[in-house]
Symmetry: C2
Subunit: 237 residues, 2 copies
DNA sequence: GTTTTAAAAAATCTCGAGAAAATGTATTGA
DNA sequence: TCAATACATTTTCTCGAGATTTTTTAAAAC
């Protein structure tokens, strides 16, 4: 299981520096909605909360611009990136295009080790689904879901496609979290994942890509159906 | 002509802050090869050259990570992103996929104003091609070439596709510059651009996408043909 | 001659304080 | 009452100096 998509990815390595630590904490708080969309990010206030200096926090915020989770404008400081249904639709469509292509290439290139990784990731995800009741297990499920999707396309040789997809996945996860405060998941995600696994193992690229595309689109529709007010409706350009 | 692809894009606006100014100068020096691939970027040394403080320069370098022009590793500072033929091949393939799709959507959605912008951009590019002899005009041509490609896909409604393409274009430009120190352009770029314009104006999406794909691939092959030593061969993972 | 160990040098990373800019508030005038 | 101006507060932006970590250099041991 490869650890990173593109050079200097601060993906899963241990935080060796305070900048990286602040970067991760900020990213988590934005994705999980504790820092709502559009919120002003005052350095003087945040540096105390995250226990770092002003310069260090500014650097962490600069890093988050790469993930499009933070925006900055001239001399007016930083803000949490705004959200909108239009943006989510764009993210979804772009993700369907890239992830379908990546899956096709992955199915074409994947070897036995890939099949093994895929089975293992699916198994771990299933186990997390079985005993998922409380909110405590949600983090675990989110992580394993992410890894399952990552392993699916891991045999795709294009680092750039995987890099872009990791950004889009992160964005989509933020929308999912923002809506999931009250909304339970109605659809049978497990069945979709299982069908996806089966198609991938059978090396049926067309079938797998179709299922994956539908899988991503369904996630979009379940969020789209939620009234806009529930999305912590910030501004939306 | 829209000015930016995604929020907080430091694209063409005036540099209002020292961080932004340093960011631009650094980006230019990396793309144009003055800071060669793999080069160590020592903050203490660079802060004098760019006339800013250490913290400011660090922030500018953090911004450049978003463009994948700079990489950082833990406690070992910053480096100019390495180059390799494999990476360029990846960039090219990904760009062909995204830019073809963007062009199709742009042709489908573009209105009269878009056609006008396209004609204007082509005209400015042609004028720059006519009297392109010295190296001084190269900058002008590069800029107008970038704008032509940008206008081509400007009617594509997906901000994310355009955002990713702007990153990939920047990457491709760096490779082009690195190889163009000695290599002149043998192929008839003007004719390709003209065919592209015509197909776009005729709203022939298939034809336009095919020409564009071939156009991008040809650029890759002309660089690929260059011996690796000429690419300032740094390390290449 | 090679490897290991240890000190010295360099570079990164971090912080707090000062200058520039933007935002908010109150006062003045019509 | 409303608009415009001037002042005060807040916040961003910037810099230089100090603490860790990495890298280099040199000596010592095998």
């Amino acid at each position: 299981m490869s650890k990173s998509t593109l050079a200097a990815d601060t993906g899963t390595a241990e935080p060796k520096t305070l900048v990286e630590s602040a970067y991760r904490n900020l990213r988590r708080d934005i994705i999980e909605g504790r820092l709502p969309p559009g919120e002003k990010l005052r350095v003087e206030h945040l540096k105390d909360h995250y226990g770092v200096g002003a310069g260090t926090l500014r650097e962490a915020l600069s890093l988050l611009i790469a993930d499009a989770l933070v925006v900055s404008q001239g001399q007016r400081g930083f803000r949490v990136a705004p959200v909108s249904i239009e943006d989510l639709a764009d993210i979804t469509r772009t993700r369907v295009m890239l992830e379908s292509e990546a899956l096709r290439q992955s199915i074409a290139m994947g070897d036995d080790a890939w099949e093994g990784d895929l089975l293992a990731a699916f198994h771990r995800l299933s186990k997390a689904e079985e005993k998922r009741i409380g909110i405590d297990d949600r983090e675990e499920w989110e992580e394993r879901n992410r890894i399952f999707h990552e392993v699916l396309i891991s045999a795709c040789p294009s680092r750039w496609i995987k890099h872009f997809l990791s950004i889009l996945y992160q964005q989509a996860e933020r929308y999912r979290r923002l809506s999931l405060f009250l909304q339970p998941i109605p659809r049978d995600v497990h069945a979709e994942h299982e069908a996806l696994l089966q198609a991938a193992m059978e090396r049926d690229a067309d079938k797998a890509a179709a299922i994956l595309g539908e899988h991503i689109m369904l996630t979009f529709r379940s969020i789209e159906a939620i009234p806009r007010e529930q999305l912590n409706h910030p501004l939306a350009a």
